[in-house]
Amino acid sequence: VWKGRLTILSLVLVSVLAALSMCNIRGASNDQLEVYSWWTGPGEEEGLAAMAKSFESANPGVRFVNAAVSGGAGSNAKAILASRLLANDPPDSYQRHAGLELLDDVRSGKVHDISDLYQQQGWVKVFPKGLLQNLTIDGKLYAVPVNIHRANLMFFNPRTLKELGIAAPPKTWSEFLAQAATIKSKGKVALAVGPEWTQKHLLETVLLGELGADKYEQLFAGQIGWLSPDVTAALDVYAKVLAVSDVKSAAGDWQPQVDRVASGSAVYAVMGDWASSYLESSKKLQWRDGYDVVASPGTDGVYDFLSDSFTLPTGARRPDLSRKWLIECGSAEGQNLFNPLKGSIPARTDADAALYQGYLGWALQQWRDPKTRIVGSLTHGVVANNAYNAEIDSALGLFVQSGDQGKFAKTAEQQFRETQ
């Protein structure tokens, strides 16, 4: 009998303990700040920790709770966040890509307008105009960008070019296609691609290069259609570019994709500048020596950006603390703590340039150049809302599989109308 009682007793004990630990998570004390992100990778995790430390020392007595969710370049985090937002149980601040990725949150009243914080902190003066335009939703600002990544980049290995006798990377996509013929005859792959999203990333840079910045923005604003002659011509080029790539044996992820460039089996790869910090820290390659990078063909002087930003959710437990966190995110100090570690550049144009060397120095200089034209990335959620973006994913997947370009354009056009 005592054995049975012991079992019951231990069961009760276990359930009480389980309940206690749940209380610990849920019944949060009043002086803590829960920040939700997908920053768990090398570099970014340390960067977030540095910002957290700075926030805690600036706000004594407040505990920073890191609620980061890893995996899937943020897709796992986004799924869990969606269920928390639907349950009206938001964290005190959460990460989103700057731009229209936040549109659904705004329209559903999940985030607060923080335009006043922008005025109060003088951010309207220190963020470039092109960035502010892309951040503005329905005339208001809802998120504070911490970092800037550049999407329209073409990576290559200078040694491979020398070996093949190619003087310089291509300036236009037609020049690229001409080079590709030579490259193929010498038994190498002209362009390495990876999983579906990298193919979409490539599509975005081809559209940007062929249409130019203005028409690119008009396309995603719905002012010119996917079936217009310009876009059709650009899609033709994309199909040709894809044909000379290794899409049939595409790498499983973006790291092995740029590995092919580093090892010399492929000549070029279009990827965002996170590839730069990967090549430097994991592959121990030097910028301009082991690897080099230029703006993707036809996009010189254009900065196709994406940015991680933080929000003020409706129903945050301590909005005053959330605002303090956003101030940390937007401050030069916070951005300079985070970005050198993550391998990105600060969104602010007045941050200390000496902290950014090598590739980052080059990127920062372009970001700050008032002549640089800033446009937002499609793949990384700046110029298309989530619904539109997901429908483009499906359509592009079918296009890559079947090669039916007309159907892709038609679907994209139709989905734009349906998802606005």
Binding site: S108, R260, S265, D393
Partner: protein, 326 residues
């Protein structure tokens, strides 16, 4: 303290008296039954009944309800749209491809796992030295998460050529079996997803083996003995004695494999994300719901999948209930 003489704790007994047929236990008054006879039983299972009622059937119902709504994005909407979501899903090119992929995958994977598992069980049943070791080796892949399995097999099934040759293709090249080189799940064919049956079968055929092995061990040795006495060969014994006993095991194994196959998600998710050649309804459900916010479409896909699984599990439940009643 004087105990009363009629105390039930002590019944004086003398050798001359006939042994009482009533044991002392039986003299105890039975506890009074409160309420109906099934009351305590119901009380005992009621916590799990309530939990399953809410968290399984309640949410199933909710999901079905969402599939008849136009809920998109972070603002839930339950406006009734009838069968609209189902008809648009029917015309959805991606979904049609997904269903085709799922049928191909299920056929190849389930057949492969059953045949392989049966074969391995047969070999082990014949008596191998170190059977425990082999059992462990074959069962072990099941202990590895599908995500890890997928990441290993993503490399094994790499289809790079020339300098980028890797994984199985490299192995084939090294042993002079170049003709076996394959594009695996990236083949330009509707059968591409059949390649995924390799990692799935690798992970689960050991489980099928364990099921069959248990079935074979469950056959009474005396039956085999008597068949031997009657002069049956081992093959005949296997076919006429063991095989009929394996029918329920085969049936269970088939159903378990089919429903695992219909719900496969993590393996495909980690293997090659966004490759529509290995896309299935469960993946489409996830991406459309959580990337795109199409809760209506996601719920519709989930409902269709549920019906698919019910078509498989329903007959099984019916069959087991019928046999148990017998």
């Amino acid at each position: 303290v004087n105990l009363p003489v009629h105390s039930p704790l002590h019944t004086p007994r003398h050798s001359s008296e006939p042994v009482s047929t009533r044991t002392p236990r039986k003299q105890r008054k039975p506890r009074k039954q409160i309420g109906p006879i099934w009351g305590p039983g119901l009380l005992l299972v009621s916590p799990s009944l309530i939990l399953i009622g809410i968290f399984v059937y309640g949410f199933l119902g909710w999901n079905v309800r969402v599939s008849f709504s136009n809920w998109r994005g972070l603002t839930p909407s339950y406006d009734w749209v009838g069968l609209d979501n189902y008809t648009s899903l029917w015309h959805d090119e991606r979904f049609r491809g997904d269903v085709r992929n799922l049928i191909v995958f299920t056929t190849v994977f389930v057949t492969g796992a059953l045949v392989l598992g049966f074969f391995m069980a047969m070999l082990l049943d014949k008596g191998v030295r170190g059977e425990g070791f082999f059992r462990g080796v074959y069962l072990f892949p099941m202990a590895i998460s599908f995500i890890a399995t997928a990441i290993v097999w993503r490399w094994l099934m790499d289809n790079g050529s020339g300098q980028d040759t890797a994984g199985l293709n490299k192995l084939f090249a090294a042993v002079g079996l170049d003709f076996l080189r394959s594009d695996w799940h990236k083949s330009n064919s509707m059968w591409a997803i059949a390649a995924v049956a390799l990692p799935a079968g690798w992970a689960l055929s050991g489980y099928v083996m364990a099921l069959f092995l248990a079935g074979m061990r469950g056959v009474n040795e005396t039956l085999r003995e008597s068949a031997r006495l009657d002069g049956a060969s081992e093959t005949q014994i296997f076919w006429h004695v063991v095989r009929p006993h394996l029918r329920p095991v085969t049936f269970s194994a088939l159903l378990i494999m089919v429903h695992i196959s219909l719900k496969t998600f993590d393996l495909l998710y980690a293997l090659d994300q966004g490759n529509l050649r290995i896309d299935t309804p469960s993946l489409y459900m996830w991406f459309t719901t959580f990337d795109g916010g199409f809760y209506d479409r996601g719920a519709t896909i989930a409902t269709v999948l549920l019906l698919g699984v019910a078509l498989v599990v329903g007959p099984y439940v019916w069959f087991t209930l019928r046999t148990e009643r017998r």
